[in-house]
């Protein structure tokens, strides 16, 4: 009760000297405000970087890139085939790798519908693309195994492309047709619209930075629920036997061993990839042990016609699923051996998406490879379709939005994605053979991949995985090390450590300014004490103990700094909004709850220290001395 009275007294004292109190608090106010602004800035940068890293595929993503071979190999570098589809095939044999996505891009293609046109980069991709790049399907489906096998002319579009070609917002273009360089493609799916967390915020009209604190913590680099279900693997067109064999594979494969030409390996055998298999002959799957052949193609890739047990199992499961759901309706196709099985339906997709969970907002990778690549691509006219993005959902100052959208939106590329089956890409746009068959991408001259990306199974085995990938690729590249791995790991580490440094130095600077504010409080309170010696004497005369005086002065100091801290918070919010306005980068400052707590706590601690000495001095005064004081 006495304590409450003390606090009340403190407020009264401050109120009695409003102007002086404000001046006294100024140091604290500025200190807290700058501390908060600093926290908000670093949090914003961290969020932006994390979001970006996640947007370009997360830390689990590894991209295989070309590089100069070491000097010792320069003269024989020619013998390496470079990054080819065989690399993807070989990498898929690794149990440490969850998915491998080879793509072949066609830049500057003309994508048209009626009189609307766009010039995006067309990506020829396979099913794992979805997982590796963290894409999500909003409408329809992604490219299916069958599309890949048949080289179907189907396309999956990014939302911004849809917005461009269909002028009315939020169209469902599934089932309609577009033309790519004159070839007619059927739209089978549309990717989700990827929105940055901050744009989401703006959309939701939550301008208070305080409110952002909560929403902005969802995106963490590891927040990628990994669902490696049946959708995981993808066979090659023509059943060329890419084996994504998982231990779970069982005899069920038998049911689904529906490869187009049933030769080679049975479904059963596919399950135990590590055990040498006698049966199956040359198409017995990848064998690295003891394989010296630099031209690893034969030993690694299953020959044409080997069935894919994983795929078979997947089909079986899919069928089961569909039966359970009572969906039916898909004709008998799925059940017919060799028939057009396994269209990954929206239902299936939905299941996968659902399991990705709420963390999924920022998981998408765009068609561009690394950040650098993306920026370069962004500079070319081929994929600058962003500014027309999402008419329906933007709000606020349009010019500012546009500015923001233009400047490194990490989702720009995936919102403008145009994905067709890799086989189709090869057949129509890249093949040198006029009569290319399904397996033609393994042949010909132009079988280089634009990009080769993998997603590792687990973060823990990241280094091992890289080592294994290197071994595998050295085989396919005939011993020439003309590749490197581009990972987000270093980027992420670097970000974390530089963030820590920024936080540290910013914290020290803000801390010093708070300290100066505290000294200001000490100074003013010492002055106000000598002004109030008589008051102290009177209080002592009527029975106040030294400790009562001590607490009174201390509480005053704390109240002063606490109020300064609160005003500083307000000033900090203002400062952050101001910074948010002038910082048009991704890294919009974010006020987190923790920074508020830390700032206020620090202000109070400063208040305690600031008030301590004056309070001690006041308590030491003898009652008589104090009463006599002039």
């Amino acid at each position: 009760m006495r304590f409450l009275l003390g606090i009340f007294q403190g407020f009264k004292e401050i109120w009695a000297h409003k102007f002086r109190s404000i001046l006294t608090m100024l140091g604290i106010i500025l200190g807290v405000a700058s501390l908060m602004a600093m926290f908000a800035m670093t949090a914003g940068i961290a969020n932006g970087t994390r979001e970006f890293i996640v947007a370009i595929g997360g830390v689990e993503k590894v991209e295989v890139r070309d590089s100069e071979p070491p000097p010792s190999q320069e003269s024989i570098a020619e013998i390496s085939p470079g990054r080819t589809y065989q690399d993807a095939v070989a990498l898929r044999t690794s149990p440490l790798i969850a998915a491998v996505s080879p793509t072949v891009d066609l830049s500057g293609a003309r994508l048209t519908r009626l009189n609307m046109s766009s010039r995006p980069t067309i990506i020829g991709a396979e099913y794992p693309f979805l997982e590796v790049e963290n894409h999500e399907i909003e409408l329809g489906r992604f490219i299916s195994d069958m599309d890949m096998e048949m080289g179907n002319r189907v396309v999956v579009l990014g939302r911004n492309i849809v917005d461009e070609l269909w002028t009315e917002p939020n169209t469902d273009p599934v089932g309609q047709f577009v033309k790519i360089n004159g070839y007619t493609f059927k739209v089978v799916g549309v990717f989700k619209r990827y929105v940055r967390a901050r744009d989401e915020r703006m959309k939701n009209k939550a301008p208070s930075p305080l409110a952002m604190a909560a929403t902005n913590r969802g995106v963490t680099p590891s927040a990628q629920p990994i669902l490696r279900g049946p959708n995981d693997t993808a066979g090659l067109p023509g059943g060329s036997g890419i084996e994504r064999m998982q231990p779970t594979i069982s005899g069920a494969g038998a049911e689904g061993s529906t490869g187009s030409s049933g030769g080679g390996l049975g479904g059963q055998g596919g399950g135990q990839r590590r055990r040498p298999r006698g049966e199956g002959g040359p198409s017995g799957g990848p064998r690295f042990a003891g394989t010296n052949s630099p031209a690893g193609t034969n030993t690694i890739a299953g020959g044409p016609g080997s069935s894919d047990p994983a795929q078979a199992e997947r089909r079986a499961r899919w069928r089961q699923q569909r039966q359970q759901q009572g969906e039916g309706g898909q004709s008998g196709a799925g059940f017919t051996p060799g028939g057009p099985g396994l269209p990954p339906t929206a239902g299936q997709q939905g299941g996968a998406n659902r399991q990705r969970g709420p963390g999924g907002e920022g998981e998408q990778g765009g068609p561009g490879g690394s950040a650098r690549q993306r920026e370069m691509a962004g500079a070319t006219p081929t994929s600058t379709t962003t500014t027309t993005s999402g008419g329906g959902q933007r709000s606020g100052d349009p010019s500012r939005d546009a500015r923001r959208a233009n400047r490194g939106d990490p989702f720009r590329f995936k919102n403008t994605a145009v994905v067709i089956p890799l086989s189709t890409m090869q057949q129509i746009f890249k093949s040198v053979k006029p009569n290319a068959t399904n397996s033609s991408i393994n042949e010909g001259q132009d079988n280089k991949l634009t990009r080769l990306t993998a997603r590792v199974n687990s973060f823990e085995t990241f280094e091992d995985t890289l080592a294994q990938m290197r071994t595998i690729l050295l085989l396919t590249h005939r011993g020439i090390e003309d590749f490197t791995f581009d990972t987000r790991l270093e980027q992420f580490d670097r970000m974390e450590s530089s963030m820590a440094a920024v936080r540290m130095s910013g914290g020290i600077i803000a801390g010093i300014s708070l300290l100066v504010g505290g000294l200001g409080i000490t100074n003013i309170m010492l002055a106000s004490i000598s002004e109030r010696v008589r008051e102290i004497g009177i209080r002592r005369a009527v029975g106040a103990r030294g400790i009562d005086i001590f607490l009174q002065i201390l509480i005053e100091g704390i109240v002063l700094s606490f109020m300064g801290g609160l005003l500083g918070l307000a000033a900090g919010v203002g400062l952050v909004s101001f910074l948010e306005f002038i910082v048009t980068l991704d890294n919009a400052p974010v006020i987190e709850a923790s920074s508020i707590i830390v700032s206020l706590t620090y202000a109070i601690i400063v208040g305690i220290f600031a008030g301590f000495y004056p309070a001690y001095k006041a308590a030491q005064l003898s009652p008589l001395q104090a009463l006599r004081y002039e």
Partner: protein, 264 residues
């Protein structure tokens, strides 16, 4: 039983090399319920004595026992407690807190007594009522006259119902008329059974108290006789020598003055 026992008390102030014997060995008793005045010339140590009795300071030597409690060697917190619980101190210059209003000033000792709110309010209002300032309850000290201020100070001294009331020249800053109303309050307080000691320069006031303690140069001159007493004796002796009339006139005048004070 003595409410206040002073034994061989010395108070020595050291100013530089110089030692000032403000009190040079004083012993006296003041009984429960007594009403005494402390008189003496300026610099004789009256205020020093009061401060020691009021536990605002401790003696250099000797002991002071208040209500059976030795306060001469007590620590600071004990002294605070004694000041709060046993003593009401009234200063010449009122010593009210300028930032607090009448009510809050009077309430102050109760806050340090940790008294619960309801009781505190009751006692505070009671004390203000007793000095007749209910209508000025929300005024600040700078909105009060000197007499009113001193009444607030008295209310504050009384609010915690201490056994001992000490006043150092409580009327010193007031005109005679106002001083009289203040003295009336002390008389009232004394009548209620409190032990009251007040320092004064005014022989008339000293005359009023049943007992006078006179100090000179830090020493007790007389615990019973006063200036006035001796003045009276001298006057009587003079009257005996000449004519007896003026003595009774003086006496009557003094008595009448006193009666006037009693019935303003």
């Amino acid at each position: 039983m003595a409410m206040i026992e002073v034994r061989d008390v010395r108070k020595i102030y050291t100013v530089g090399e110089q030692k000032i014997h403000a009190l040079a060995g004083v012993s006296l008793d003041i009984d429960k319920g007594e009403y005494v005045s402390i008189i003496g010339p300026s610099g004789s140590g009256k205020s020093t004595m009061m401060q020691l009795l009021g536990c605002l300071d401790t003696p250099t030597e000797g002991s002071i026992i208040l209500d059976g409690m030795d306060v001469s060697r007590a620590n600071s917190n004990t002294l605070s407690w004694v000041r709060n619980q046993k003593i009401g101190f009234v200063f010449q210059n009122f010593n009210l807190l300028a930032k607090l209003n009448v009510y809050e000033n009077v309430e102050l000792p109760l806050i340090y007594a940790n008294m619960p709110g309801r009781e505190r309010r009751k006692r505070t209002l009671e004390a203000i009522e007793a000095v007749g300032l209910m209508e000025r309850i929300n005024n600040r000290p700078n909105q009060l006259s000197g007499g009113q201020s001193q009444r607030v100070a008295i209310a504050r001294a009384l609010v915690n119902r201490p056994k001992i009331i000490l006043a150092d020249e409580p009327t010193g800053a007031l005109d005679t008329q106002t001083g009289e109303t203040i003295l009336q309050l002390f008389r009232e307080v004394s009548r209620r059974g409190n032990t009251v000691a007040l320092v004064t320069h005014d022989p008339d006031i000293a005359m009023e108290t049943p007992r006078r303690i006179e100090l000179r140069d830090g020493k007790l001159v007389s615990a019973q006789e006063s200036h006035y007493h001796r003045f009276k004796q001298a006057a009587q002796a003079e009257a005996a020598a000449e004519e007896p009339q003026p003595v009774s006139i003086v006496e009557q005048a003094l008595r009448g003055d006193m009666n006037n004070g009693g019935n303003p």
